[in-house]
């Protein structure tokens, strides 16, 4: 028997993903729709009678009138019968407390004449809210099968599975007769395309999405109407649907308000209060940052030392040779550089998903909108700016719900200033090198304060650039802003767990591939070189040592040879080439190489230095990166990482645009190379000048 294709559809905040998680457990695959960065989640589920189902979790949408790429995905799948995933049955998930609004989408899906099951979720809240439903009446009126579900209390999932197996018995009659929107227009449409579904044709005419198998031009050419007229008809359609829904629910749903408890509005009053609201918000932010640095440090230290041990163990036990060198000097430090991020990423995503699932994030948006607008941003920019502390990429994708293009563009352009987790290891190691381990007033650690200063610096630069962009960019766009204020919910641990797992995994594998590849390339470039100097390093150094006028202890030869080789390797040649440009910033050629290689991804900086220094030393003792950096000296004998150089590097990393993946995502989201290029030039220019000033002042 073939697997049944099930499409899960629903408004945002109705618990659609919880239903998906209950149906499929960890049998999930996350991919991408071709050409766009929308998550495509497909799961697998066993059903009664040995049947099986492929469940696809479609992006949340309020209706089939798409206004974003995420929503386009839903329409494109539902209209394309040839798609491999075209659903045999649609499951529309609704929230019992928002049934009225949720049913709008249901009636639209129904009109596509796909067998449709209506899931009413969160029924555990019915008694608390005094809600009762007349299921028989509703099933008859909506011409569907209704399944009552509570993912929190694990009720109804088995019934849903049973309903899916029996999908063929579900009626496919539409809820609304499309012709009633405009009789004359639709009759004509029907005559021209007698074999097509009227509502489907209507979507082809009104929606701006890709259709594969309908001759959209043909339909459009003969049935053009002005945009205004179309809009009016769409409004009429929406009014008609709501009339039908209001009428149906008048009999099918009763609310006894005397039984309803109103925790919701009490919480709203506190969380959006003009003083407490902000205090709570800043408290939450403080808690997040505290835990990222505090809770993550123990597992991070553990990972760091484990990888150092592993490298040492491999060096001792593998036969000597090029391959072993590659493993111990290239691959192991490379993987270590990825794995070390996991604790921080996980903690951050944990907080972000709790804030979103609980409904609190919308209150922050509401609270901050007026303030953010002064800088050309939207209240909705707060979410990307917070999640930008993990990574700019999901943050920039998260700007899609900002309706106003100018506000969205500014958010996209300034988000990379926010200190992302990739900068953290760079900051951490440089701070440890140049800031003494002291406490101020015996309470605040000086190093911790320095780190916080860098975060604030990034944040203020983001806000400052936003207000400049706000003045410079001349767009006329209406300030649309509609934000749903969902009910407060205690987040389900299972949902949070799966989200954290998924995001961390995609970070590790996405960023990990780049880091690993780069560290292997770097290792190669560092251990091979052009010309005779590299090849004959041993003889050159030996000659130098033995022919020197001052007697030199021959035991320094191996170290000198390694140094000399590195200097004349491919990477050394490259570093020497850029040295004149970076010297005024206080960097030597080795730091230069690290800065260049981190243009692909910042986190490569530490790994590059580690690789360079470990290729550069012949010693078998594995020391930590910090030790190696501290031991580095300039030609005049002063330490390479002086206060001025360290500070200049910190400033450089705070502002520079060094992340190819971010530039790629900005290109995708703005559909032009113009914006990522402006970003690259502006941010890197700013970084160079600020680092130059920092070094010259502190020198």
């Amino acid at each position: 028997m073939q697997n049944i294709n099930v499409a899960l559809i629903g408004n945002p905040n109705v618990g659609k993903t919880s239903v998906f998680n209950e149906l499929t457990g960890l049998n999930q695959q996350v991919g991408n729709y071709p050409g766009i960065t929308v998550d495509k989640k497909i799961g697998f589920c066993k059903l009664p009678n040995n049947a099986k189902a492929n469940v696809i979790d479609l992006p949340g949408t309020y209706s089939l009138n798409a206004s974003s790429v995420d929503e386009n995905v839903v329409i494109e799948l539902l209209l394309n019968k040839n798609d491999k995933l075209y659903p045999d049955v649609a499951v529309v998930v609704t929230d019992v407390e928002n049934l009225k609004r949720n049913l709008l989408l249901f009636t639209q899906i129904k009109d596509l004449e796909i067998p449709t099951i209506l899931v009413i979720n969160m029924i555990d809240r019915m008694s608390r809210k005094g809600i009762s439903l007349d299921i028989t009446f509703l099933e008859e009126k909506l011409k569907t099968k209704i399944v009552l579900v509570s993912t929190r209390k694990k009720i109804g999932i088995e019934n849903l599975k049973k309903a899916i197996v029996e999908y063929k018995s579900i009626p496919t009659e539409p809820c609304l007769n499309a012709s009633s929107i405009d009789v004359e227009y639709f009759e004509k449409l029907k005559k021209t395309f007698p074999n097509q579904l009227l509502y489907k044709l209507w979507l082809v005419i009104t929606q701006d999405v890709n259709f594969s198998n309908i001759e959209r031009n043909e339909v459009r050419n003969s049935f053009t109407k002005s945009n205004n007229e179309l809009k009016r008809l769409q409004q009429k359609e929406t009014i008609k649907r709501y009339q039908f829904i209001n009428e149906t629910l008048k009999k099918g749903l009763t609310i006894d308000h005397s039984k309803a408890t109103d925790l919701h509005s009490k919480l709203d009053k506190i969380l959006t209060h003009k003083i407490f609201g902000y205090l709570i918000f800043f408290g939450v932010l403080f808690l997040i940052f505290q835990s990222i640095f505090d809770w993550s440090s123990v597992p991070m230290d553990f990972i760091d030392s484990t990888f150092a041990d592993l490298s040492l163990y491999a060096k001792a036990n593998l036969p000597k040779g090029v391959f072993t060198d590659l493993i111990t000097e290239g691959i192991i430090p490379g993987i270590g550089g990825i794995v070390i991020f996991i604790p921080q990423i996980a903690v951050l995503f944990l907080f972000i998903s709790v804030l979103e699932e609980s409904g609190y994030m919308s209150r922050v948006v509401f609270l901050m909108d007026k303030i953010m607008r002064r800088f050309g941003l939207s209240g909705k920019s707060v979410v990307p700016l917070i999640s930008g502390t993990a990574c700019s990429i999901p943050a920039i994708m998260g700007t899609r719900n900002i309706e106003n293009w100018k506000e969205r563009l500014i958010t996209i352009l300034v988000t990379p200033f926010i200190t992302c987790s990739a900068r953290l290891p760079v900051y951490a190691i440089l701070i440890a090198l140049i800031i003494p381990e002291k406490r101020i007033l015996g309470l605040f650690s000086l190093q911790g304060l320095s780190l916080m200063t860098l975060y604030l610096l990034g944040f203020f630069m983001a806000i400052f650039s936003a207000s400049i962009l706000n003045k410079v960019l001349k767009f006329k766009s209406k300030s649309y802003f509609v934000v749903e204020m969902p009910h407060y919910k205690i987040p389900l641990p299972k949902n949070i767990g799966i989200t954290v797992l998924e995001k961390t995994k995609s970070f590790v594998f996405g960023a990990g591939k780049i880091i690993l590849a780069l560290s292997i390339i770097l290792w190669f470039l560092g251990s091979h070189g052009p010309g005779k100097d590299f090849k004959n390093a041993q003889q050159i150094i030996e000659k130098e040592v033995y022919s020197s006028d001052i007697p030199i202890n021959p035991s320094v030869i191996p170290d000198r040879v390694s140094e000399y080789k590195l200097e004349h390797s491919y990477i050394g040649t490259l570093g020497k080439f850029v040295e004149p440009v970076i010297k005024p910033l206080g960097y030597d050629w080795k730091i230069g190489v690290a800065v260049i290689s981190s243009f692909a991804a910042r986190e490569v900086f530490v790994g590059t230095l580690a690789t360079i220094y470990s290729v550069g030393s012949h010693s078998d003792e594995e020391t930590t990166i910090k030790h190696q950096m501290k031991a580095e000296i300039r030609e005049d004998g002063t330490p390479t990482f002086s206060f001025a150089t360290g500070a200049s590097l910190l400033i450089f990393y705070a502002f520079a645009m060094q992340c190819i993946s971010t530039l790629a995502i900005v290109r995708k989201e703005t559909s032009s190379w113009k914006w990522p290029l402006i970003q690259l030039v502006f941010m890197s220019g700013l970084a160079y000048i600020s680092a130059l000033l920092t070094y010259q002042f502190l020198k």
């Binding site: 309020y62 769409q234 948006v365 749903e484």
Partner: protein
């Protein structure tokens, strides 16, 4: 009393009478903000903007003042302190 939605106070309940489809985001219509439906002001953010409404008995959403200005309403009940 006829007015526009941005002038309502917390606790006011009003009936949507009319608005210009071209000025109002379509999403708002889909959330149930349609002529003939009720809206109620639940909260107003600090500094007076945005406004948080209950639309059509159950849709909770916030919109900016300038959008609310384009929604014509008729006040049904107003909260007396």
């Amino acid at each position: 009393m006829k007015t526009t939605a941005d002038l309502l106070k917390i606790g006011d309940v009003a009936l949507v009478t009319n608005f210009d489809v071209d000025k109002i985001p379509f999403k708002l219509l889909e959330m149930g903000c349609l002529p003939g439906n009720e809206i109620k002001v639940l909260q107003i953010a600090p500094f007076g903007d945005p406004i948080y409404f209950d639309v059509n008995n159950g849709s909770h959403l916030a919109i900016r003042k300038e959008t609310a200005r384009d929604i014509e309403v008729e006040i049904l009940t107003t909260k007396v302190d």
